[in-house]
Symmetry: D2
Subunit: 301 residues, 4 copies
């Protein structure tokens, strides 16, 4: 058979940054401390293409995903990001003309959480992982990222302040010092926050620790099972911890400094948060990206 | 050319209920009282297929949509549902083997609204329309539906009640009679409510009147422009009008009885509402379907 | 605590058909013949609400989902639809005021398939299940549905015919009798086909058998791993088996008659198919719904 | 009223790169050569936030969008990207603490196109625009991007080659020299291609010219109205112009060099393309980003 992909390009001898496949879904078995879990993961993989080659051998991408990911059914991997790293390295081995390989993956992820021990059930989160393999002389350099996303709740501090002013006029007793700390109405809403770490070689982070950091940044985590008294607890927590999206992001990033003292300063951090405003039809958002070293300096200042 | 569609079916002589095209997007010009607006409408159209015919002449569907919808650029139609009706009737004329034609359409729709006159801006809503043409002897019977969807806000009455109990223990002064009507914290969230009317011939309803009915059913409408004091107004309104999804649906349906006295009892009503709970990662919903006659009897009981 | 849900409705004493929760995601462990698989399932559950009750006890829905679904981690269920049935029955027990409970669920599902034994890998499909429990005197009647969706490929028989006419003019040798069966170019595309069975009590169907029936109805199944020669095999198969969406549906339904002789005639069948046309920006679709008894009569005619 | 946003941050004195609103939908009236069209545009706007300020005045974002976009109903703008530029500049004026403002917008867009003059109808495309305003001493620097996306068709050159080899064995006459140019079957599919230009000040490009360049890069454009003979024309065109995603991207970029000789070399180009493979359940993609100067050098080499 003629190797059409290896022919010279017909429509311009241009190198391309990225050629690959997206939306390949696979069951991925991951070894946790106490048990094996199966993620329904969605993968995108790509390599660069030199200017003298018509096509990338895309069938190799699906083949190696099948070899590496399907094999986890009997030999679970350590994590979603370790699977991505292995795939990125193998992509470079199977595309000898490529200099860079990129892999990204996402998967729904469940943790048993609850407002109390007897209310625990599986809450759903999102896991994110990326890997990038770069040919470097004879060897291959590997860059990895690991992230997660959690849905929680925010309560607005500004509307809380203006509602208090308004209500104190209507209910003068509200100004009584004993009611100083009474939580006041405001708008509250779903908040979706994402945190991703770009990691140097041999540095590891646990996804569960990322999710803990995110949920601490929100006004309150949310739960599937809330009996009536529990609802009041969540509502009270959120209103005693009112936060703009700006506050969520700063809380989260301050928490990262405190929670991950062992990480080296060159770790890059990408954080973003979206509140699906209850008083508007649109969303509000905040995002930041900086190295852990810069973050530590800002927090220490 | 061989007419492949008119051949006998090769894989079983089965009649089919519905064969058509979906996701055809078109700009549709609609004449409003004071001006012409252009909707970006998405259409789905289908007809039935008899057991002795291999295929439906689908190119006629795209052709008639182009003729009827594209023509509105110079001759605007009265409404999205009148466009659907015209398309459904024309489908039967161009598919002589069909007995039933069905059309549905949706479009984003903007109305200038605001919490006060000087805060008005375009708020976005969804318009919905359906039409069904049925061959009846020599003639064609036409059935139409018109509906709309609006995003608003709900505040939970149950968590408000349990929060009050909890707060009265911590803040005894809260039990003072002068604070009886003080709005108490609860969870509030985005609510998405939809109302559709199946109309008999010659009965008309205005989309704007449907949207008014929906927004009255929610704890509060929401707005793009809210300066700081306005936010408090919306939050206060919502907390003085706390509603479960069940309450939203019953308010809305009671409002329909009051707002549309001129409609005949055989009008069928489909209503549904979804609250994107701020204290959970999942949504809660309520739905109902009944004739206006039944609804009036229940409300009068 | 005051039971707000049990109070009388404030906004109209209307009964409601359906009140519940949607979008609850859970890991569901299912026992297959040879192993346990874990589905990431999304559930919607609802019950009706009488006219004299303000709210449905929605926290019970999340609680019972956690009890029943989370428990499968240690005790796998037989299938997605048996989980739905169990949930529907339990909903009626925990909502004593309700007469009807409805559950629906969907989950991505993987089967090891390949164009040949050495090309097998996990292909992704969609599983669907529904259950409805109706209070009937002292007892509960249970109705179940099981379905699945598969992505495959269709090649258009009409464009194939017109392309042949056109090409025979340009290449007279093409009319040579030896080339009568040469597959001719046409447009081909992704096809998404869904088949759902409404089952009477004690009647069971395997999801894998439903997927086999769907893939037989399409011009060709599709595969993740196709080395170069394999691509030609799939393309040839599809072009030797050109099908309109109408053909896909009729093939599928004829196959159902042949594949499921043991099913009783009252089984209801819902089938639909969508081809994401390569020559248009929109999709074409066909749908049918009938009992197996009616289907058998039509096929036999 | 207390200005909560102007207070010092409580959760860490960190500057934030981006705080804003997303998903604001507005009708935007745009002046074309011959008429005014109304786009249903979706906007996202954001500014940076200094470390000493708790919140960004987000109500100003909605307010200025209403002022600028709603006003186009009576005074149409020149283009989506000029609207974005105006908004970005105004964001900096209304957020005096911000140094950078970013705006992005997308809108469905219709052009009357057809395979022949008498088959013209509105085809749907996507318009994209971005603007970035940076405070620079006393002034403001403005960066703009304009882009578009079109759905077309690709036919695979590799499967075409392997199908020919396979068919020549089965149909020896196919090797006859007179059939050398006979188009051979392959898989073909929907292709979605996007092209975005980052523009220096005062450089303009027409969206319609971008869409022309994209459609030339695909194996064939697609059309809503295709009578039977027209389908053969599109299928033949696509099979005489078989293209990998790599080919689509290179054709497109070569076309950019030829079509836009007047553009300066510092224009940055972002191009990406996705083919929704008919023989797989997943998509294949290619992407590139480079300056027009680099592109010209590569094409000239």
């Amino acid at each position: 058979m003629i190797d059409v992909h290896a022919q010279l390009p017909r429509f311009g001898r241009l190198s391309l940054r990225r050629v690959g496949v997206t939306g390949i879904k696979k069951p991925l078995a991951v070894q946790r401390a106490d048990r094996v879990i199966t993620l329904t993961a969605s993968f995108a993989v790509a390599v660069d293409l030199p200017s003298d080659r018509k096509g990338s051998d895309l069938s190799r991408n699906a083949e190696l995903l099948a070899e590496l990911v399907d094999a986890t059914a009997t030999r679970p991997v350590a994590s979603l990001e370790s699977a991505c790293s292995e795939i990125a390295g193998e992509l470079l081995r199977r595309h000898p003309y490529a200099k860079v390989a990129e892999v990204s993956a996402s998967a729904e992820y469940f943790l048993a959480r609850g407002i109390s021990e007897d209310r625990r059930s599986y809450e759903d989160y999102l896991l994110l992982a990326e890997a990038r393999a770069v040919r470097n002389g004879e060897g291959i350099e590997l860059f990895r990222a690991i992230g997660a996303e959690a849905v929680g709740m925010t309560a607005c501090p500004c509307a809380m302040s203006t509602c208090r002013e308004r209500l104190e006029k209507e209910f003068p007793l509200l100004a009584d010092p004993s009611l100083k700390d009474l939580p006041i109405i405001t708008h509250n809403q779903r908040n979706r926050t994402r945190l991703v770490f770009d990691l140097p070689p041999r540095v590891e982070i646990e996804a569960d620790a990322i999710l803990d950091a995110i949920e601490e940044g929100q006004s309150s985590p949310t739960f599937a099972i809330l009996k009536r008294g529990d609802e009041a607890t969540v509502v009270l927590n959120a209103h005693r911890n009112p936060k703009f999206v700006e506050d969520v992001l700063r809380s989260l990033l301050s928490g990262v400094v405190r929670r991950f003292p062992q990480l080296p300063p060159e770790v890059n951090i990408r954080a973003s948060t979206v509140s699906e405003e209850s008083i508007h039809k649109y969303d509000v958002m905040a995002a930041n990206e900086l190295t852990l070293g810069d973050l530590r300096r800002q927090v220490a200042a």
